[in-house]
Structures are given as structure tokens and as C-alpha cells.
């Protein structure tokens, strides 16, 4: 029993609830939101430190013992991701203060933001497959509400599709849980990791694994299930898109990593080879979309897709190094994607359009924005001092170490194309002739830049402070490839 684990879920939840009652009072709403986000962030840091020094923490909710009740498990991976999610949410919150107008605040914008964070943190911390579904739904319900915020026509259009697809994938999730339960007879992840090897039902379990793959791949936007992402993620306002880009797909990837390392790891020749193939295709198709598009938001949304490919490549290769790479890359990507989406929002505010053909010369009036964007873009691709480099290095090291040469080649080629796709925004948007017609109604970037600067600083820290940060990631990867620690901490009580 350890109640420390529950607070990363409860703090945002309570903040969200109290914000419902403060709907009328803008100042109180903002101050409570700031306080809640800071408490939540610092608590997450504290928990991560506790877990790193003191080992895995487990809470058996309402004192039901392990395989029967709901376990909440804080291992290093979960806490690292909870910290990152809090960082992203906090930055998006501060950015929202400038972007979300009074009318939208009336529609419970901030409560939903915190409920989303609740769902994301819960999904990271839970140790039970069905509970994972529940937290997925908490997160998705908030995202449904957030994606229609503002109620413009493209948003309504896209959100109908987004919700329909997610409802379908939720139904598949329930089915997959049902099949798994009928084969193995338990839903606790630690218990599953033990019992699945004894079940001796390889064919049936492969089917279940693939069903889970489809469910999580839909959320994580893997090939061929990424078709919904570019439309949905480019419709809502920048802070919401940044939250989605930073958090939602990553929860899908986290679930894939969790499920395909701890539970469905008995037949890696089949499942993980499949994952490598999918990873390669996801990278390629994502980057093709990014290169082909001329819309700032679309380019960034397609980049999410190709980044997902990199993480799944790490999972598919399935060595400790490659999984450490996947985790490192995931943390880096959560931060830098959120930063890019926020900066993209600022670019659109400044230029008054999302179309690159109609932009140009922004660097003259907005040098800070320009160089921040440049840094974020370079970090995304993985130029050394920044955070993307370490992740990619580990991924490639892992893949080469396991003899997966062609996927390494693909990932390097794709990296180059990613560089081209984001530099395109820089070249078209910031350099070149200023388009005169737009000079008239230029928006201001006041208050929009410092949250993103913060994110980029963290990315820089992740890159320069690899020495300090890598042990955490390595422990997280070790706990995944050798789940005995996890199993013992959950089942021993």
C-alpha cells in the first residue's frame, strides 16, 4: 500500500472540479489553474525521484489484493511520462491564457484541460488493463470536449469523425479485454505477465495481441490507422492541438510499449517483426504527408505520425537499448511537438494564415519567434546538442546492435526528410519577401513565446544533460525488458 501513487491523478482532478465552480470568475479561475498545475508538476517530480531511489511503488486501490482489485503502479517509465505530461500541460495552460477568449472560458475550457491531464496520468500509472481503458475514456471524453472548442465549422466536421473513430476503437478495446480475460482469466498487468506464459495458447493470444495492437495503433496513429490524425489535429486552436499532439498519441504508444514488452512478449518473432514493418511504413507515409503539405498545421500533424514510427521501431527491435531509445525519444517528442504546435499557433497568429504560400519574411518583425521555431525544428530532427539526438542515437544503436539494418536506413532517410519538411516552414514563413497584404493585421506574440521557450529549454536540458537523465531512462527500459521487479512489487503484497 502506498498512497503516493494516487495523487498525480487526484490533484488535476480536484483542480478541474474546483474550476467548474469558478466558471464565472476569470481571475480566480486562472489563479487556481496555475496553482493546480504547479502543485501537480512538482508532485510528479517528487514521485519520480521517490520511484528512482526507492523502487517501484504500488497502490492497491480500496485494499483489494493484487490480481483482484485495481493496482496503480508507479515504475520509472510511468513517472517519467507523468512528469513530461505535466510539463506539457502546464506550458499549454500558460499559452492558453493568451489565446482562449472569455467566451470559451465560460464553456469550461480549463476544467476539461485538467480532466485530460487526469486521464493521461491515470493511463500511465494504472496497472490494470481494464482500468487503462477507463482512463483512456476519461482522456478521450475531455478531448472530445476540447476538440470542438470554439465550434468553428472545420472543428465540428473533424470532431464528428474523430469521435466516431474513437468510439469504434473503444468498442474494440472492450472486445480485446473480453478475449484476453477468457483466455488468461486475469486483467492485472503483472498477473498477466506471469500467466500468459503458462496459458500456452499462442495462436489465440496472437489474435488478442493483434486486436490490442489495432486499438492502440488507432490512438497512436500508426500506419495504416493514422488517416484521422492530420485532419483532427489541425482543426482545434493551437494550445489544444499542442496538448493532443504532445499527449494523446503518446498514451497510445505508451500502452503499446507496456503491453508488448510485459505481456505479449512470448512470441516476439511474430509480433515484434510485425511492429518493425509497421514502424517503417508509418515513418515513410508520415513524412511523405509532411513534405507534400503546405499548411503549417498539417506539416506538424504529419510529423507526429512519422515520429510515432521511430518510437515503435524501438519497441519492435526489442532490446534494452532500443527501448531506452524509444522512451527517450517519446519524452523528447512530447515536449518538442507541443512546443512546435504552440509555435505554429504563434506563426499563424502573426501571419493571419496557415498557408505557407501566403506567408513570408516573418523574421524581420518577429526574430525571437523565428529562432525559437528554428531551434525547435532542429531539435525535432535530432541535431546534437538538443534532445532529439540522444533518442535517435539510442534507437539506431539498438537497431544496428540487433542487426536490423534496413529499418535503420529507412529511419535515417526519413530523418532527413523531416528536416526538409520543418525547414520548409522556416524557409517559406520566415525568410523571403514579406507579403505586403498581411502587414496590415499582424497579430502579436506577446505572452505566447515564453511557454514555448520553456519547453525548448527543457529540450536543451534533455540533450545536454543526457548524463544526468539517461540513468532514469535506462532503469525504465530495464524494468520493461525484465518485468520481474514490476511483477514482484505488484503481487508480493
Amino acid at each position: 500500500m502506498n498512497n503516493l501513487v494516487i495523487w498525480p491523478i487526484i490533484i488535476p482532478l480536484l483542480t478541474g472540479i474546483s474550476l467548474i465552480f469558478l466558471q464565472k470568475n476569470r481571475v480566480a479561475q486562472k489563479s487556481v489553474a496555475v496553482m493546480g498545475s504547479l502543485i501537480s508538476l512538482f508532485y510528479a517530480l517528487f514521485l519520480a525521484y521517490q520511484v528512482k531511489t526507492g523502487g517501484i511503488l504500488v497502490l492497491q486501490a480500496s485494499a483489494w489484493q493484487a490480481p483482484f482489485g485495481i493496482s496503480l503502479v508507479a515504475d520509472v517509465l510511468a513517472t517519467l511520462l507523468v512528469v513530461t505530461a505535466n510539463v506539457v500541460a502546464t506550458a499549454c495552460l500558460y499559452y492558453s491564457f493568451k489565446v482562449i477568449d472569455r467566451k470559451q472560458e465560460q464553456f469550461y475550457y480549463y476544467p476539461f484541460l485538467f480532466f485530460l491531464l487526469t486521464g493521461v496520468s491515470g493511463a500511465f500509472l494504472t496497472g490494470d488493463i481494464f482500468n487503462l481503458f477507463v482512463f483512456f475514456e476519461v482522456m478521450l471524453m475531455s478531448s472530445y470536449a476540447l476538440i470542438v472548442f470554439g465550434g468553428t465549422k472545420p472543428q465540428l466536421r473533424e470532431s464528428v469523425k474523430y469521435i466516431a473513430i474513437n468510439v469504434l476503437s473503444s468498442a474494440l478495446f472492450v472486445m480485446a479485454v473480453g478475449y484476453l480475460y477468457s483466455v488468461v482469466g486475469t486483467l492485472n498487468m503483472a498477473d498477466l505477465a506471469v500467466k500468459i506464459k503458462e496459458a500456452n495458447q499462442v495462436g489465440l493470444l496472437n489474435t488478442v495481441a493483434m486486436l490490442f495492437f489495432i486499438v492502440f495503433a488507432l490512438k497512436a496513429a500508426l500506419f495504416p490507422l493514422f488517416f484521422w490524425l492530420p485532419g483532427s489535429y489541425s482543426a482545434p486552436p493551437a494550445p489544444i492541438a499542442a496538448l493532443f499532439g504532445g499527449l494523446l498519441t503518446k498514451v497510445g504508444i505508451y500502452s503499446l510499449i507496456r503491453v508488448f514488452t510485459m505481456i505479449f512478449a512470448y512470441n516476439t518473432g511474430y509480433t515484434h517483426t510485425f511492429l518493425i514493418w509497421v514502424a517503417g511504413l508509418t515513418m515513410v507515409f508520415g513524412v511523405i504527408g509532411a513534405v507534400a503539405s503546405m499548411d503549417v498545421r498539417k506539416i506538424l500533424a504529419y510529423n507526429i505520425v512519422s515520429a510515432v514510427g521511430f518510437m515503435i521501431m524501438g519497441l519492435g527491435v526489442f532490446t534494452t537499448v532500443s527501448i531506452a531509445g524509444a522512451i527517450y525519444y517519446m519524452i523528447h517528442d512530447m515536449i518538442i511537438k507541443a512546443a512546435l504546435f504552440l509555435l505554429g499557433g504563434a506563426v499563424i497568429t502573426v501571419a493571419g494564415t496557415a498557408n505557407l504560400n501566403k506567408m513570408g519574411g516573418l523574421i524581420k518583425n518577429h526574430p525571437t519567434l523565428g529562432w525559437l521555431f528554428f531551434t525547435a525544428a532542429v531539435a525535432l530532427v535530432g541535431i546534437p546538442p538538443l534532445s532529439g539526438f540522444t533518442g535517435k542515437l539510442l534507437l539506431i544503436q539498438g537497431a544496428l546492435g540487433a542487426g536490423q539494418y534496413w529499418i535503420t536506413g529507412i529511419s535515417l532517410t526519413v530523418s532527413l526528410l523531416i528536416l526538409f519538411s520543418v525547414m520548409k516552414i522556416f524557409l517559406y514563413g520566415f525568410w523571403g519577401e514579406a507579403k505586403t497584404s498581411l502587414q496590415v493585421k499582424q497579430g502579436s506574440t506577446k505572452g505566447l513565446l515564453w511557454p514555448t521557450a520553456l519547453l525548448i529549454a527543457i529540450s536543451l536540458f534533455l540533450g545536454l544533460g543526457t548524463e544526468f537523465f539517461y540513468p532514469y531512462v535506462e532503469t525504465a527500459a530495464q524494468q520493461l525488458t525484465d518485468p520481474s521487479d514490476y511483477i514482484n512489487s505488484v503481487l508480493k503484497e
Partner: protein, 113 residues
């Protein structure tokens, strides 16, 4: 009994897919509702069907059904209820704004504007 319910689940899935592939948004919503019902029924069947006992294990009870699938279904029903309600409101708003309940009119991307 399991066979019968499995056939029913299959039928529900088929109807749900048929409805979800149609163009009217209301039919799609009904389809999503049906598909979650089918999933719930499947979950119940997967837990093993047993008659004559409640899923409660009282003191001295000799027979009981596995309560876990029931708990899962209940949770899932609550979630399904919330999502369907939200989707209906959204469809209503979308119909008002876009002037159509036909999903074909929901095409078109942001750059058209």
C-alpha cells in the same frame, strides 16, 4: 447458450457496421451504440454464461457467476452512455452549423476556406 449469444453478437456487429457505413450521421450514432452493445454482450459471453446464480458472493453461497465481466460491462455502459449523449449533442450542433446530416458534406479540409 454461448453459441446463441455469439451469433447474436455477430448479428449486432454486422448491423452496427452496416449502420456506421451509411451516410446519415444519426445512423452512424445508432451504429456506434449498437457496436458497444455488441462488445458488452461479447464481454459477458467471454466471462462464461451461467444461470441460476447472481454475481454476488455472499456468505455461504454455493454458486455464483464471475462478477468481473459484469463490473466491466457496467463501467463500459456508463462510458458508452456519456459518449453517445455527447455525440448526439455534437451531431445536433453540426447539423445546425453545417446544415446537413449527410456525412459526405462533412468533407473538405481547412485549406478550402
Amino acid at each position: 447458450m454461448e453459441l446463441l449469444i455469439s451469433l447474436l453478437v455477430g448479428f449486432l456487429f454486422a448491423s452496427a457496421v452496416y449502420l456506421m457505413l451509411s451516410r446519415n450521421i444519426l445512423r452512424i450514432i445508432v451504429g456506434t451504440g449498437l457496436i458497444s452493445h455488441a462488445a458488452h454482450l461479447l464481454l459477458m459471453t467471454m466471462g462464461g454464461l451461467k444461470r441460476g446464480a447472481t454475481p454476488f458472493l455472499g456468505q455461504g453461497a454455493t454458486a455464483y457467476t464471475d462478477p468481473l465481466p459484469h463490473a466491466l460491462i457496467l463501467t463500459s455502459i456508463v462510458i458508452g452512455f456519456g459518449v453517445t449523449a455527447f455525440l448526439l449533442v455534437l451531431a445536433y450542433r453540426a447539423y445546425n452549423e453545417l446544415g446537413s446530416a449527410d456525412i459526405n458534406d462533412y468533407r473538405g479540409l481547412a485549406e478550402d476556406e
